[in-house]
């Protein structure tokens, strides 16, 4: 029973995660526009 259930469960988890990521990434706006970065700065504080 375990031999069937665990691989199936793992397959479902992987499929859901990959499908979610594909849709999420396609619909997500860039978090930061490089053009908005201060052009003279070496970096920005993390938080």
């Amino acid at each position: 029973m375990v031999r069937v259930l665990v691989p199936a469960l793992v397959g479902v988890v992987l499929a859901v995660v990959i499908a979610f990521l594909m849709v999420y990434l396609q619909n997500k706006a860039p978090s930061a526009n490089p053009a908005n970065a201060p052009i003279l700065a070496y970096g920005t504080p993390a938080t």
Binding site: R3, V6, P34, A37, L40, A41, Y42, G43, P45, A46
Partner: protein, 564 residues
């Protein structure tokens, strides 16, 4: 069979490295953040640490300069970046020899794909990642030498330490790792440490005689202190293997629950994997733990007020203490430790599942092997924006040729006066000035780093003087006294129009930059002969040490293969 399995295992970290570096398939050269590979880098005084700036990329610049004389910097950069990532995974494979296949896949993948490596690569600090990648090899070789007395293993520890010692930080890691792996009561186990110490001369000597101020701006301590993420505190970010100071290098996923998940994975790996790891590698487990936890504690101290205050005093008063101001990089040995523990934890799970059959082990193993990628799913995208090659405009080469064809004793200033540039033909992110590495003359830029709304002063007194003079007078009036014979103005800089070029003679104009000759320039001051000779002697000594170790390792290999 075992050989085929070894090859297959080695393909996993290589595949992850290729994914992280996928943009390298595009033509061009690397120029973003701290990542700079120009087509050909001349071997200048600055590359040896005699340029007046703190020797942070010494002897790295000198080695890259020598290598670009035989290979284009574009090709070299691609090879070195790929090696930096892959070697980390392959090194952990070596350390985890004895774990099951799934566990070794998980550990080696973790060594390549984790928040620390991704954040550092996003900042363009490939040499730091190369130093991190050398650690498992140094540890393994130093431990083998200690146990067996093998001269070949001692020589290998010295050679891998040379790879790490391309930068001062990597050199400190190499010394610590050689001690961790090789220390024992037997005197014979200590000679590799002495030799590795000699490998540090190429950056120690310039830091003493190179002409830069030996102390750093204490403002940098707060600016480069570990940063926070969704975990809520820099200390927690460090425990989750992140916490870089720079917001642009932090993957977006670190601002989600995944930052907390990373801490959980580190904790579970430690709880589940520690016993298995100790049984598997009784000789190395405690030593690697001591090394990793020391690095973690040092980084954690810098998240506290008293820790930062203490470092601020050190940076202001003690030569070379500026090396420690970017505390998050001290995590490198801890990341290595966590990768091994993660592999051991996966091994424990795989063994417990074995009674249910190979299908269960394989499917759960697949899930576990992918955990490192799942913890930073946007890792590739974060690194890609830095490693995307750009096409250098022809004007850069023309400018370098023009300047190198002029008088040999004239220095160069690039304007507007900045440490970093955001050129229109670049990646969109700030980068070092490529001309600094393309021209066979001293090139002065501002040494002051602007981070957010704060400025960290550079260590070069000459650059500071030139910057001050430019703030108070026309370039044509103030630059001749400093031996500046050339001014390069980056035309696409928003402040380019404010540069007063009256009195300068234009010798080259392009949409990207304009080169001016400075009439009446004096000869630029050169480093005194004794400084140059001292640094070159230190470099040659280190080079002979490395060559000696390479020859010894080869001869010993041949000797042992004949015996067998």
């Amino acid at each position: 069979m075992a050989r085929a399995r070894g090859v297959l295992l080695g393909l996993w970290p290589l595949a992850l490295s290729l994914v992280l570096l996928a943009p390298l398939r595009h033509p061009g050269h690397l120029l973003s953040r701290d990542l700079v590979f120009v087509p050909h880098e001349p071997l200048t005084d600055a590359a040896l640490g005699l340029g007046g700036a703190a020797p942070r990329s010494v002897p790295l610049d000198a080695v890259v300069a020598l290598l670009t004389s035989v290979a284009d910097g574009g090709v070299l950069g691609r090879g070195l970046l790929l090696a930096s990532l892959s070697l980390a995974g392959w090194g952990v494979l070596r350390l985890t020899d004895g774990l099951g296949t799934t566990a070794r896949l998980a550990a080696s993948g973790f060594a390549v794909w984790n928040p620390f490596v991704i954040e550092r690569m996003a900042l363009g600090q490939w040499a730091l990642v190369l130093g991190y990648a050398a650690l498992p090899w140094i540890l393994h070789a130093a431990a083998t030498h200690r146990r067996t007395g093998s001269v070949r293993a001692g020589a290998l520890a010295v050679l891998w330490s040379a790879v790490a010692s391309l930068t001062p930080t990597g050199g400190v890691f190499a010394l610590a790792t050689t001690v961790a792996g090789g220390a024992s009561r037997r005197p014979r186990s200590w000679w590799p440490l002495g030799v590795v110490a000699l490998e540090q001369l190429p950056w120690i000597v310039p830091s003493l005689v190179g002409g830069a101020t030996r102390t750093s701006d204490p403002t940098g301590v707060a600016v480069f202190a570990p940063g926070s993420d969704a975990s809520g505190h820099p200390a927690l970010a460090l425990l989750g293997l992140g916490g870089i100071w720079d917001g642009l290098s932090v993957p977006d996923s670190r601002h989600t629950f995944l930052a907390v998940a990373a801490i959980a994975v580190v904790a579970i790996s430690a709880i589940l994997g520690v016993r298995r790891w100790a049984v598997l590698a009784p000789d190395l487990a405690l030593r690697l733990a001591a090394l990793g936890v020391t690095g973690l504690l040092a980084a954690l101290v810098l998240t506290t007020g008293p820790g930062q205050d203490a470092l601020r005093h050190l940076v202001a008063d003690v030569p070379g203490a500026g090396l420690g101001r970017d505390g998050q990089k001290l995590l490198a040995p801890f990341v290595l430790l966590v990768a091994c523990l993660f592999g051991a934890a996966v091994d424990v799970v795989a063994r417990r599942l074995a009674r249910h059959g190979v299908e269960v082990v394989a499917s759960v193993g697949l899930l576990l092997v992918l955990v490192p990628v799942g913890l930073v799913p946007d890792g590739a995208g974060t690194v890609w924006r830095t490693v995307r090659p750009v096409r250098f405009p022809d004007a850069l080469t023309s400018a370098a040729t023009k300047i190198d064809g002029g008088p040999p004793d004239r220095a160069v200033v690039t304007l507007p006066w900045r440490a970093y540039r955001n050129v229109r033909w670049g990646t969109g992110y700030p980068s070092s000035d490529p001309l600094v590495r393309m021209v066979d003359r001293p090139v002065f830029t501002s040494g002051d780093l602007v981070v957010g709304d704060r400025t960290v002063r550079g260590e070069s007194e000459t650059a500071a003087s030139i910057g001050s003079a430019l703030a108070h007078g026309r370039p044509a009036d103030v630059l001749p006294a400093y031996g500046i014979g050339w001014v390069v103005v980056y035309a696409d800089d928003p402040a380019a129009g404010q540069v007063d070029v009256t009195g300068l003679r234009r010798v080259l104009a392009s949409p990207e930059l304009t080169v001016y000759a400075v009439p009446g320039a004096q000869a630029a001051p050169e480093p005194e002969s004794w400084r140059r000779l001292t640094v070159i002697a230190a470099d040659l000594l280190a080079l002979f040490v490395v060559l000696g170790a390479a020859v010894t390792a080869m001869l010993e290999s041949r000797h042992s293969s004949k015996e067998s």
